[in-house]
């Protein structure tokens, strides 16, 4: 017990030093982020952190949330490791945070989330998009990004419109995102009359896809479309090997490949269509956000993870303002009542009646000439969305 107190005291002392100047008599809102700043999540969590920091600075410049609660944003590296995520979450809880942002992948998000859940601290998952995540962690966990079943529905609708009747689906049972999203797609695609000819699987530590590509190339009849939610580094490897084996079947992907890597692959990625959170059309709020981001961090990165980090802070701020209190249960309840909140990604975000999985639009883009080309932004028909 004394050790725990000492640790807590040390954590408080450390944050006091970090936040010196802004402190004073005012009460601060402490928002923690257990972030994978190193390891495989570094790209995603790094952008979330930067986007969230922009929101924090913007709010603090106006005197804090509701003009009275400045935010202190506490980021700790959890090395993209689920066990380390739990340790970091424990540190954050000991630092008396009022809200927490969880890592970009489901497993570390659950590990971190369980601790915050037990401490009744509201949490936001800015990119882990598995719709079962809030249910698995508990009533304090909220999903922000385009949920897997929403993305899958929009992709399936698109596939039908293109006249694709048969599909090959590639999934990996190793993580929920790479497993469930394609399975939602299979459900939605088959429910509306499509046929999935074959489901291939790959392993998380697999980078050679030659056997899978050979299987696809020799399918009789050939599928009309290939769907996968693989992302880096698997997606670049898969698409490179697929195209280099002379297979030209169209490929559908999901928001995990909303990254510069996909755009930089050259010819092999041409024509890939994928779902994502929002498109920065010229003159849109999202474009302005990405420009601000560029000014601040020196890189134009039009990928929605940063915008998601920004939205997470803004949603917390909105909920705290509505709740008029820093008590965990009050913030949670206020979050759960949010409806039609204008997100910087260009969609409205609703939690009311959604079991803490954000209801929002899904955007589809196509890769053309190394650029994202906007196809559509749609709210999927709830009747067609598979149950999580």
């Amino acid at each position: 017990m004394s050790l725990k107190n000492a640790l807590a005291a040390a954590a408080v002392a450390a944050t006091a030093v970090g936040g010196a100047g802004a402190a004073g008599a005012q009460e601060q809102v402490r928002i923690g982020f257990a972030a994978g700043l190193t390891g495989y999540l570094a790209f995603f969590d790094g952008m979330v952190r930067n986007g969230a920091q922009m929101a924090v600075d913007e709010i603090n410049a106006q005197g804090g949330i509701a003009g009275q609660w400045p935010i202190e944003f506490i980021v700790r590296d959890m090395r993209s490791d689920a066990a380390a995520a739990a340790v970091v979450a424990r540190e954050l809880v000991a630092a008396d945070i009022h809200a927490m942002i969880t890592p970009c992948d489901v497993d570390p998000a659950i590990a971190a989330g369980q601790l915050a859940q037990a401490a009744e601290i509201p949490m936001m998952s800015p990119c882990a998009s598995t719709p079962t995540l809030p249910g698995q962690v508990g009533p304090y966990m909220f999903n922000l990004k385009t949920a897997d079943n929403l993305q899958a529905t929009v992709l399936s609708e698109f596939a039908h419109e293109q006249g694709y009747e048969t599909a090959y689906v590639l999934l990996s049972p190793d993580t929920p995102y790479t497993d469930l999203l394609p399975r939602y797609f299979i459900q939605a695609f088959e429910a509306s009359g499509g046929e999935v000819l074959e489901v291939g699987t790959y392993g998380w530590d697999q980078q050679d896809f030659s056997a899978e590509v050979t299987a696809i190339a020799n399918m009789e009849p050939q599928p009309d479309v290939i769907m996968t939610s693989a992302y880096e580094p698997h997606f670049p490897a898969f698409i490179t090997q697929l195209r280099n084996a002379g297979v030209e079947i169209p490929v559908l992907g999901s928001d995990g490949i909303d990254s510069p890597t996909t755009l930089g692959l050259g010819e092999v990625a041409e024509g890939v269509v994928f779902s994502m959170a929002g498109y920065p059309a010229e003159g849109s709020e999202l474009e302005a956000f990405y420009r601000d981001y560029e000014e601040r961090f020196g890189e134009y990165l039009p990928f929605a993870f940063s915008a998601s980090g920004y939205e997470a802070i803004m949603l917390f701020a909105e909920a705290i303002e509505q709740a008029g209190s820093l008590e965990g249960p009050a913030i949670r309840d206020a979050l759960d009542r949010i409806a039609d909140f204008p997100g910087v990604t260009g969609t409205e975000i609703t939690y009311e009646g959604q079991n803490r999985v954000a209801l929002r639009d899904v955007t589809l883009v196509r890769v053309e000439g190394g650029q994202q080309v906007f196809l559509r932004q749609v709210a999927p028909d709830p009747a067609e969305v598979p149950e999580p």
Binding site: F43, P236, T261
Partner: protein, 295 residues
């Protein structure tokens, strides 16, 4: 039939990459008794060199040469800076040193270059497939096969007929006696590392051409596989390492091509199980000899 031949090519291409890496590992191990866990980071260096030289608009062939050169120089530097000071230390010390080098390099890549994968777009003449009879074989796969074969033949020649190669093999057999014959230890170590760097560089080119991106952690997995190949082949045997690499490639492709989909998630477990079976029958590995004493 086509699928079988295509998968045979897949197995040879994947196994070839493992073989190149395993050979580099075995080379260093047989001379120094060091299992170089940072071998994969040499691959990563080569891959980054390729990425940056393409980015800076060097001609493609020059980027290839530059990537190989970088891997070789990095390997020699690694030996000089990290491993020479612990050369006479215990195997555990050397193993931990290589672990540290690997971790330091990975973090350096993440912080100095980028934590995210960087895309490497191959020139279009390397993309696509060529028709051979009724088969469609990927251009890069074909090149990987050809180059691996050529490189292995070249190495056979070097080891057989050049003074450097003979010294290297002699040192692998018995290091102390080789030194008594007047071969300089430093030159041998540097040579072994340079060669392992070259092998890692070549493997990196094909690995990157196949996976499309470079990231800080990309070297870990293939080297883990290569390490398995070295063990299966017989720790300390150069020919064994190559054989082990091809065997592992063949097992992996065969399992992925043949297993029914319910069993596919177990493919890695099954492939390791097969490896264990091999080791049960031949505990010293495919080509390993039972050693009387450990140096």
């Amino acid at each position: 039939m086509d699928i079988l031949i295509q998968n045979l090519i897949n197995a040879l291409a994947l196994g070839g990459t493992y073989a190149l890496l395993a050979l580099g590992l075995a080379l260093v191990f047989s001379i120094m008794g060091l299992i170089n866990l940072a071998h994969g980071e040499l691959m990563t260096i080569g891959a980054y060199a390729l990425y940056f030289m393409i980015l800076w608009a060097f001609p493609f062939w020059l980027a290839l040469v530059g990537a190989l050169l970088c891997a070789v120089v990095a390997a020699v530097l690694m030996e000089r800076v990290a491993f020479r000071p612990v050369r006479d230390a215990s195997m555990a010390t050397m193993l931990l040193t290589s672990f540290a080098v690997s971790a330091i390099l990975q973090v350096a890549y993440q912080n100095l270059i980028s934590p995210r994968p960087l895309p490497v777009a191959m020139p279009s003449f390397l993309g696509g497939a060529v028709e051979i009879g009724s088969l469609q074989v990927g251009m890069i796969q074909l090149l990987a096969l050809g180059c691996t074969a050529a490189l292995l033949l070249l190495l056979v020649w070097v080891f057989r007929y050049t003074a450097f190669g003979v010294a290297m093999r002699a040192a692998a057999e018995d290091f102390d006696t080789t030194r008594l014959m007047g071969i300089r230890a430093n030159a041998l170590f540097a040579g072994a590392f340079a060669l392992s760097g070259l092998l890692a560089g070549v493997a990196a080119l094909f690995w990157v051409a196949q996976r499309g991106s470079v990231d800080p952690l990309m070297g870990f997995l293939p080297v883990l596989k290569a390490f398995i190949a070295v063990i299966v082949g017989g720790l300390g045997s150069l020919v064994g390492a190559v054989a082990g690499g091809f065997l592992l490639g063949a097992i992996e492709i065969a399992l992925r091509a043949l297993l029914p989909s319910d069993l596919l998630p177990y493919r890695d477990a099954l492939s390791l199980l097969l490896i264990i079976l091999v080791l049960l029958v031949r505990p010293q590995g495919l080509m390993g000899r039972r050693r009387e004493g450990v140096r």
